[in-house]
Symmetry: C2
Subunit: 272 residues, 2 copies
Amino acid sequence: FDFTLMVAGESGLGKSTLVNSLFLTDLYKDRKLLNAEERITQTVEITKHTVDIEEKGVKLKLTIVDTPGFGDAVNNTECWKSVADYIDQQFEQYFRDESGLNRKNIQDNRVHCCLYFISPFGHGLRPLDVEFMKALHEKVNIVPILAKADTLTPSEVKKKKIKIREEIEQYGIKIYQFPDCDSDEDEDFKQQDTELKESIPFAVIGSNTVVEAKGKRVRGRLYPWGIVEVENSAHCDFVKLRNMLVRTHMQDLKDVTRETHYENYRAHCIQS
Amino acid sequence: FDFTLMVAGESGLGKSTLVNSLFLTDLYKDRKLLNAEERITQTVEITKHTVDIEEKGVKLKLTIVDTPGFGDAVNNTECWKSVADYIDQQFEQYFRDESGLNRKNIQDNRVHCCLYFISPFGHGLRPLDVEFMKALHEKVNIVPILAKADTLTPSEVKKKKIKIREEIEQYGIKIYQFPDCDSDEDEDFKQQDTELKESIPFAVIGSNTVVEAKGKRVRGRLYPWGIVEVENSAHCDFVKLRNMLVRTHMQDLKDVTRETHYENYRAHCIQS
Ligand SMILES: Nc1nc2c(ncn2[C@@H]2O[C@H](COP(=O)(O)OP(=O)(O)O)[C@@H](O)[C@H]2O)c(=O)[nH]1
Ligand SMILES: Nc1nc2c(ncn2[C@@H]2O[C@H](COP(=O)(O)OP(=O)(O)O)[C@@H](O)[C@H]2O)c(=O)[nH]1
């Protein structure tokens, strides 16, 4: 199994920590962080890391596409452009390969899902969030993430999710839709499916450190006023997101990429 | 007593909550928040609220100068300019008034202190923070604030303060300096003075809600994993900031404004 996951959002929103938490990796240990002066002139880069992971006995070759520099400058006009170009380039490469003679070993680098990190500090979506999602929603499956959710009390999380979902609708942003479950599924499954849809944007907390909580060792953040547990669903949607990505919806994310986003691209190319 | 305090920093960093917490006011209840679409075209405004407060029996006419729109757009080039212009306009008005005939009732609208809110999400200072502080450090006393510090564990707070202080030095930013205490002060006082200087930037948490913690009613934030207490110095520097602003350093902030920042402005005017 191959899967390409993109993470996008301004720096400091916990993207690398979340990726490491989701897949129990240490992908970013050699990362060089830019200081403010260097970031003034930096443009958005696209970087890739590939790691082999095993989930419930299934081997997975996971590629993480990162977008350092996104949203960090004083002037972020069109900073989403290099991200959109990268996605198109992968479509273009696939298009050329599948129109060629040797179609047996096509390398599929198309981006199957983009986790877009929304700051919990915004009073809803910020202008850059809207611009990014509108520029990319017809190229890749966007799964919006409410980052660093330990900044928000449960009622603030609830209000913010409602506000963000309303704004996504109001701005005509087409995020990844979870497929409806069959009407003959049992009630339990339908309930889980509804809960999943109402969790958007996933309020996540990530951690690279293990702390001791109630006698167990857990991934978490140790504050003077208490311990946040990443895998505690009363604390955040980390487990929901991980199950969705790695267990229940990975195949659908790939199918929608191939059958909708890639076909849109192909149609565009063929018509022009 | 009159005191003019400016608060600046991108929206959502808890500025209004902190102002209300510091002075136990409700200055922002009628505030209209813009949505993302409106914020795309908004320029930086300057708004003023005046409130009479009493601190330990002393009446204080406090003016809060707010900077909605700062740092919120996709392109924030020179968004600090309207802030700098506002400060200069107050200097200019004072300059004209004190050169005039009737000098008995000069209205002093000069800004005595600017609390600049730094996001706890940055890996240190961001480009906009550096630009703002460099543009304003010779016009107003800048007191840097590390906002929403409940996002950070104690070790993260410590590392971030050191990083930010290093960057402030490295970029030649002149923030407000606490005056050195006299060498004949007692050890206790000197210790407090050193602690104050090493607290910069003040890691603050603000709250408009009262929660119950250990049987007492306190200003705080109630999370599933614990209760953050705004006035608990093991949780944040709120009390240090409030004491500094309202009790120990208010007069010095006014003196430095008059004797340094205003005199710089005056010299500039007279020479050109
Ligand atoms: N409060 C909080 N801090 C986090 C969380 N995840 C990561 N961090 C911290 O935020 C800082 C930046 O995280 P990082 O993953 O490097 O952010 P990135 O720049 O988006 O990749 C690190 O100090 C992390 O420990 C979270 O869920 N909540
Ligand atoms: N985590 C956290 N949230 C805060 C803090 N102070 C305020 N908030 C919340 O952040 C949101 C925005 O605060 P607000 O004061 O309106 O921010 P402003 O736009 O900078 O004026 C509100 O929901 C506040 O309850 C804080 O210290 N920590």
